[in-house]
Amino acid sequence: MNRQISQNTLSTISLIVGKENLFTSKEDAISYSYDGTPLHSQLPEAIVRPTTKDQISELVKLANKEHFSIVPRGAGTGLSGGSIPVPNCIILDMSQWNKILEIDQENLTSWVEPGVITSQLHQEVEKIGLFYPPDPGSMNICTIGGNVAENSGGLRGLKYGVTKNYVMGLEVVLPNGEIISCGGKSVKDVAGYNLKDFFIGSEGTLGIFTKILLKLIPKPETSKTMLAYFNTQADAGRTVSAIISKKIIPCTIEFLDNTTIRCVEEFSHIGLPIDINSLLLLEVDGHSTVVEEEALKIVECCKQNNATEVKIAQTVEEAIKLKTARRSAFSALARTRPTTILEDITVPRSEIATMLEKIAAISKKYNVLIGTFGHAGDGNLHPTCLTDERDHDEISRAEKAYEEIFIEAVKLGGTITGEHGTGLAKKKFLHLVTGYTAIETMRTIKKALDPNNILNPGKVFDI
């Protein structure tokens, strides 16, 4: 391999972390050259697995001195290219930092290492009647560190919010190697700037998390999961707004169009009808009496908005199967065409039906196949272009279609990304939402904290 990082520097890295935690083979480099994002990849110079925060601090100082970049990585499931290597970088693999350090039942908090897998935390806290709501589709493999860095959402976002609503404290290695701790177990805390929130969603560009304090809540007593089938996407879209205007906040309202339904059914064989236009997967949770009452109201609401059928899951297993199937949606779409370029636009909930119509029109205009699904209750849709990376003409049409989808979303008062982050994939479009002055402000912050631009450079925006 042609290296940019000198052998000397590699030897120093090896001294810092131990040679068993430094991988430089070509095979290793290739297998850390990607994340879940299509069409982007880059070989790192090396993969490093630090075992203590002091090692991380030393590595960061070395990077400043020797001018190489550091890209933090959790499980590499990101969908905007956050953990894809940049030229002349080492991958800082945090996936082995996988200990749940403490579950504090008096304060309802948990200290975790950043490499803890999201669903493992779910299982551990649920054993003692507690609940950690954020549940991205990738929860069986993605890490809490990645979740915090992307401010990830999930299926339960509508009622419970996203990752940022559950982060109470962070321990962070800064781009100059200093280590700080921000936030804590106090429910209220207004001492100084709110640094903690500032690191949430920073996509590995402002600091490396080494410890994360999360808020837990009591586990809801019971839940009910429903499926509603529709003949038109507009009906499904209107149902979402109708339910919310009835002052019911289900924990989940997920939308799947026909293309997605077919793919999901082909993978999971759970008996979804493949000839319907679209469906909503809904869940309410809480005290049993409230759940019953709200479920009834939702069924009624779906029917009023022309649902052709509403089904209620009869057992917990059935409900879990439905949600698991939904989580497979994105990957299942790759059954149709191999390259799935997925977007993450979010619009105000009241605009869901309009946005769905626009997506359909744009898909037609550019002659690209788009499957759409998403967290409809959050106004967050994932129109997914089904293409083949080997067909360059199709890829370029897809790119044009996206640009137009972004513009429409912003026009409706929405954003280009609701939960996947800007990373590499969307930085070109960032200005559409934020404007150039805001990007300049972000640059000022980045430069102040990371003058040598060593931490995940070129992500979110260019310097």
Partner: protein
Amino acid sequence: MKTENSNFSGIDIPSDDVLTNCMHCGLCLPVCPTYAITGREKSSPRGRIRLIKSVAEGTLDITQGFVDEMNFCLDCQACETACPAGVKYGSLVESARNQIRVQRKDSEFTLMMKWIFLRNILSKKYLLNIVSKLLGIYQSSGLEAAFKNSLVVKKLTPKLFKLQLLSPRIDGRFFDEIYPEIVLPRNTPKYTVGFLSGCIMNVAFAHVHEDTIKVLLHHDCRVIIPKKQVCCGSLQAHNGDFDVARELAKKNIDAFLKHDLDAIVMDSAGCGALMKEYGHYLHGDPEYSEKAKQLSGKVKDLTEFLYEIGLKVPAKQFSHRVSYHDACHLIHAQKISKEPRDLIKSIPGIDFVELNEASWCCGSAGIYNVTHYEDSMKILDRKMNNVKETQAEYLVANNPGCLTQIEYGCSQQQVNMKIVHFSTLLRTVYEL
């Protein structure tokens, strides 16, 4: 993809379409036993696919590191089951191994093991029989006990010592020495089924075969065991030796299609999985392509077959606690997991307890426990922890490799549990 730069060559190369089909989402990582051991992407399905793709694109040579990763993979295909995109991972790793073999890139130890086991002993019946007889004599003569206890052996070659504990017990009489070509049930036959005696099963699991035959006869089957049949070729194919596998497949096609069969019933998951794939391996063969499909269409796992025809109700209650381990080649390769469970649960009196991580490989994986002993044992440890937790009296596993491996785990850890094939359980239940 620029195939002109590819470092693969010939016809049996990993498919470009399958490689592109992987959208690197990572959803297969949590089910991969080798990724669980190292936590390194290159030992994960997603990493391996990218490595294979890199060789196909010519950006990586068939390096030692590449070969190691391909061989480190268990080919358990848990990743295929987990993959929502439907990536046929097994076909990729098997083709990659085929390329490694054709291009002679295997390490000497692996080459030797593959040559001894796959090219010779297992695919040449007379050799297997001779070796097995010798091993049988050795195991029953007291020589084995002497060997096991000899301190010299334990000290000098700990690996060899452990390996020989892992070798299956050779039955006193081979299966095809016991049974004639056609076996008739007591009642008027309702079905005519073909039966594969196989290689390892024939010599080391003759008792399981016998149990299966008894169960089939009890269900009014006329059983045909074609004399001209050979090993199914699965160990060869999974290790990328497609040439030998195809030769074996053709012989079996000739042997079985001679008879008019309702089904070909398999009691070894690995053999069943491969015979269902004959159509795929012989695709395009002018003479055998169609015949292969025809044969594959008839192949059924015993549980699949019994589920279809309906299990006879046993005369007595069987009041025991029973659990079930999914053989990779049943659940992942053949997608069979409901049938065996439903059948077991339907036996009156049985207290069925689900095994945690039942679909996680036991580490046997063909000759993996020979070529990768240490890793195989790590995987077995995880299995054993779950096995112990069930506190079952019987654990059902429908593949010879799993039976040997888990039994080995039990003997190492002094676990008192009967590790049985479903046929064996049924024979006990029916008191046949």
